[in-house]
Structures are given as structure tokens and as C-alpha cells.
Amino acid sequence: MVFGFGGGSSSGGSQMSMGGGSATSPQIEAATAELDMITDVFNRLVSSCHAKCISTRYLEPDLNKGESVCVDRCVSKFFAVNAKVGEKMQAIGQQAGGAQAGAGGGGSFF
């Protein structure tokens, strides 16, 4: 596990192996899912910190001092939020007996 979320990742892994898959092994599927997740998080991180830290007046091609410092702290804070959301969802998941309570995004209406 490269990107150690609170537990979403590992619980997801076990859910994945349920799926089986014909051509691809569960291991490949899990690794692909993890890769997709990391990329998704990274892209959101890049765009969130750009919105918070980078002036869109574009006066110079380099990050200035203030922007650089802001980006560093922004990444730390984003990881902290990520951990906080992960804990919260894990707590809810345990309350609900492992069910993805109100997970939305597809889980709730099939």
C-alpha cells in the first residue's frame, strides 16, 4: 500500500476480490484501483493548492517565495484533511456495521 488512507483502501481491497474478474487477477485489479486512487487524489491536490496559493495574474514564470511556502503547507494540510475524512468515514462505516452508509455515488440505489 503506497497511499495509506485510514482504511478505505484496505476495505476496498477486500471488496474488490469479491469481484473476481475474468482476464485480470484480483492482485492486478487491486493495484490498478490503488493507482487510480492515488492519481485522482494527486490531481485534486494539485488543483486545490493551485487555487489556494497561486496568483492568476501570472506576473512571473516561477513560483515566488510566498507561493512556494504556501504550496508546502497546503500539501501538509491536504494530507491532514485526507486523514481526518478517512477517520470519520471509517468510524461511520463501523457504526453501520461495515455498510457504506450514505456513500452516495452509486452505492445507495442499486
Binding site: 474478474g21 487524489v41 486545490s48 491532514a80 485526507n82 456513500a103 452509486g106 452505492g107
Partner: protein, 90 residues
């Protein structure tokens, strides 16, 4: 979903597809939630750690979003059922 028009083999393949999709959707829900609550709650970059105010905001933002999407899901199913009943009545 109604898979009654599928053969048993197809239904089983479909179940796998649904399971994989749910996994992917859950992942997106998760990262989307992080992005949303980060965007709404964090605006102070004078330190690396979250302030108490930011932490509380993230907690409430997470809970509220999950309750919101749960409620939307319930209403969605009702409206969908209504729509199907109307179509079959035609």
C-alpha cells in the same frame, strides 16, 4: 437494477462490473469529499497543521455531505420509481 433480461452468466459478469464500479465510485466519493472540505474549510496557510477551527469544520463538512448524499439518494429512488410508474401507465 433489474438484470432479469440477462442470462445467469451475464448477470454474474454484471455483478462483477457493478462491484468494481462501486469500488471506483467510492474512491471518487472519498477524494471528492476531501477536495470539497479542504476547499471550504482551509484558508490559513501560516502553519503546516490544521487549526482547531479547521478540524471542526472538516468534521462537520464530512458529516453534512454524507447526510446530504444519503437524503439525495432516497429522494432519487422515489422520483425514479415515480417516473417508471408514469412510463408504464402510458
Amino acid at each position: 437494477m433489474d438484470f432479469s433480461q440477462l442470462s445467469p452468466a451475464e448477470a454474474s459478469a454484471m455483478e462483477q462490473i457493478v462491484a468494481r464500479k462501486q469500488m471506483r465510485d467510492f474512491t471518487k466519493l472519498y477524494s471528492g469529499l476531501v477536495e470539497r472540505c479542504f476547499g471550504s474549510c482551509v484558508d490559513d496557510f501560516t502553519s503546516r497543521a490544521l487549526t482547531t477551527r479547521e478540524e471542526e469544520c472538516v468534521d462537520k463538512c464530512t458529516m453534512k455531505f454524507l447526510k446530504h448524499s444519503e437524503r439525495v439518494g432516497a429522494r432519487f429512488q422515489e422520483e425514479n420509481a415515480k417516473m417508471m410508474a408514469q412510463q408504464q401507465a402510458k
